[in-house]
């Protein structure tokens, strides 16, 4: 083995990885812009003209927003409580957040919807019935993102320091805890949004036309349209990631990318 070969080998691996991710996307893009006779944007204009597309986007964004807000409202206090007051329950809660993946979606839908409709009958017939399911689904991601964020600061000492300086609980949460968890909270929000925007099984079982369901429908009839939609979704997700990353860097936090990677 000569020294000069090592970097070539390394570059080959990098190139291979890039190709692994890029080739399908490039192929997808090329396919979405072609028709039998040449280049065209017909698939895109068809999608943007379709009222159902906008309805699905609107529904998915609404579900994502509701899920994110509610999931964080539940999870931020839980993670803080576990770390500050009840560390013995941490692994239990971690296990609970994973439980949803052990239950087949159809079982979840049949079992939980019966219970939910008994408790909140008004949810019947509205797509909002999906929100509780998405919240449970997002717990695994929000818990991990927040947990990693809390672990990266010495929360106990910071809280003690704030108290000894005269701050009450509300003041400590607002001035010390939340600002130091901002990046983790943004990361959790981002993960929740992507979970909701990508969720297909539950929404199709409930017969609601969210973006992924719409995409699958289009795919059955228009091949180019489905490719165009897939590309739009990928680009939209990237834009979202960049936006969250830029916002958090402005706020002086660590990069969301590294934070998500550490979860």
């Amino acid at each position: 083995m000569t020294r000069s070969r090592a970097p070539i080998g390394r570059w080959a691996i990098v190139a291979l990885c890039v190709a692994f991710f890029a080739v399908p996307l490039v192929a997808l893009a090329i396919f979405s812009f072609t028709s039998g006779s040449g280049w065209t944007t017909a698939a895109y204009s068809a999608i943007f003209r379709d009222a159902q597309f906008w309805k699905s986007v609107g529904l998915s964004l609404l579900l994502a927003a509701l899920t994110t807000v509610l999931s964080l409202t539940l999870m931020v206090p839980t993670v803080l409580w576990v770390h500050l007051r009840a560390p013995q329950y941490r692994s239990l809660i971690e296990a609970i957040t994973l439980l949803v993946f052990a239950v087949p979606p159809i079982t979840l839908v049949i079992g939980a919807s019966g219970l939910l409709l008994g408790l909140v009958p008004k949810l019947l017939g509205t797509p909002l019935i999906l929100v509780p399911f998405y919240i449970v689904l997002s717990f695994a991601f929000t818990f991990r993102a927040l947990d990693a964020g809390v672990k990266s600061v010495d929360l106990h000492t910071l809280v003690d320091a704030a108290h000894s300086l005269g701050a009450g609980t509300a003041s400590t949460v607002m001035r010390v805890i939340l600002p130091n968890l901002r990046t983790a909270i943004l990361g959790a929000a981002f993960l929740t949004i992507t979970v909701v925007l990508g969720e297909y099984v539950l929404s199709s079982l409930f017969l609601y036309n969210t973006l992924p369901v719409y995409m699958a429908d289009v795919g059955t009839s228009q091949a180019q349209g489905a490719a165009a939609l897939a590309l739009i979704t990928v680009l939209f997700t990237w834009l979202l990631l960049i936006a969250v990353s830029v916002v958090s860097r402005r706020l002086g936090g660590q990069r969301v990318g590294t934070m998500i990677a550490s979860t």
Binding site: D154, T157, D160, A161, S164, V176
Partner: protein, 354 residues
């Protein structure tokens, strides 16, 4: 100026007794160190004073008033923690201003006071720096400024120097002492480092297994340790076994040495004698002392440490450590026969240690 009175504090965690009957009084403006090995209860005691832990029984009184039910944020105590506890999302000046802002002081007042405090700890010009842009020593200075900014009644220091490197530790501890004297603030300093405690305290409370072993000035702690634990934990000691003889002397395998502490033990009982290295003298053989042979010399700058092997086999410490100042060690080459003399006034005579 504030007095602190700790009254018969007891604290247990399940089966473990962290503190048992801790009682001590601090005068106004006094600098008191809690010294002891890890697990001795010193940090627990500090956290009870701070209000982060609650005692099972007993009481903490500040200026004569019990504060046991008071939450930490109502106690007016400034605390510096072992781990860097600065708020990472705030600059140095905002960290220092935090306690003042919580107290709803006016903006001008806050900014002025925060800047003064940073100046006091020698960090003028670093106001805008964030914690991650500062060294460990600078961060602890900011933490000190932050604790002092609220004009606390008592300053609590929880091993604030233990994460710093040796040089910074020494210079910062001197500065802490200067600032503390200047402000005249009553201070409790928790440390496991005896040198630190000896150099900066007015008085030291030595703790072991939740009990107060001795509460006295550094000099008293060092020169006349009240218990064998203090003698062994603070500074270094030689340990000799002997039998109490008549006339205030101890018989070490045939060598009679007069020791002030011997009179408190009945004649004929077995005792251990603890002696500081500098309270020993390496005399000519034949003079009163324990016969030994020099085995090594360690040059330590202002003094030389000479190790000698006791000729008698019965002692627990078979190697004697003796500190000789100046150049008076030159004749003590390896193999020299000596007689180890003991300063009878400072040696601690105790029942045999385990």
């Amino acid at each position: 100026m504030t007095t602190v009175h700790i009254e018969n504090i007891r604290k247990t965690y399940g089966e473990f007794t962290a503190l048992e009957g801790l009682t001590l009084d601090m005068a106004e403006g006094e600098f008191v160190s809690f010294l002891g090995p890890s697990g001795c209860g010193k940090t627990t005691a500090l956290r009870i004073v701070a209000g982060f832990e609650f005692a099972d029984s007993g009481s903490v009184l500040i200026d004569g008033q019990a504060i046991d039910g008071l939450a930490p944020n109502r106690r007016d105590m400034g605390m510096v923690f072992q781990n860097y506890s600065l708020f990472p999302n705030m600059s140095a000046v905002d960290n220092v201003a935090f306690g003042l802002r919580v107290r709803k002081k006016s903006g001008d007042q806050v900014a002025k006071r925060a800047r003064e405090m940073l100046e006091l700890v020698g960090l003028s010009g670093k106001e805008a720096n964030y914690p991650h842009q500062m060294s460990g020593g600078q961060q602890q200075r900011v933490a000190l400024a932050r604790a002092l900014a609220i004009e606390p009644r008592v300053l609590l220091l929880d091993e604030p120097l233990s994460a710093l490197d040796a040089k910074v530790r020494v210079s910062l501890r001197n500065e802490i002492r200067v600032i503390q004297k200047e402000l005249g603030i009553s201070t409790i300093f928790v440390t496991h480092d005896q040198e630190e405690a000896l150099t900066i305290s007015d008085r030291i409370a030595v703790l072991s297994q939740g009990r107060l072993e001795q509460f006295a000035t550094p000099e008293q702690i060092y020169r006349s340790p009240a218990t064998p634990f203090v003698a062994a934990f603070v500074g270094e000691s030689n340990r000799f076994s002997g039998t109490v003889a008549a006339g205030g002397a101890v018989d070490f395998a045939g060598s009679l040495v007069p020791l002030a502490g011997a009179t408190s033990h009945p004649v004929g009982t077995r005792v251990d004698v603890l002696v500081r290295p500098e309270s020993t003298a390496l005399l000519d053989p034949g003079e009163s002392g324990l016969p030994a042979t020099v085995i090594s010399q360690q040059f330590q700058g202002s003094r030389t440490r000479v190790l000698a092997h006791l000729n008698s086999e019965s002692d627990p410490t078979s190697i004697v450590i003796s500190d000789v100042s100046g150049g008076r060690h030159e004749h003590l080459v390896n193999g020299t026969a000596v007689s180890v003399g003991i300063d009878g006034r400072t040696a601690l005579v105790t029942t045999p240690l385990p």
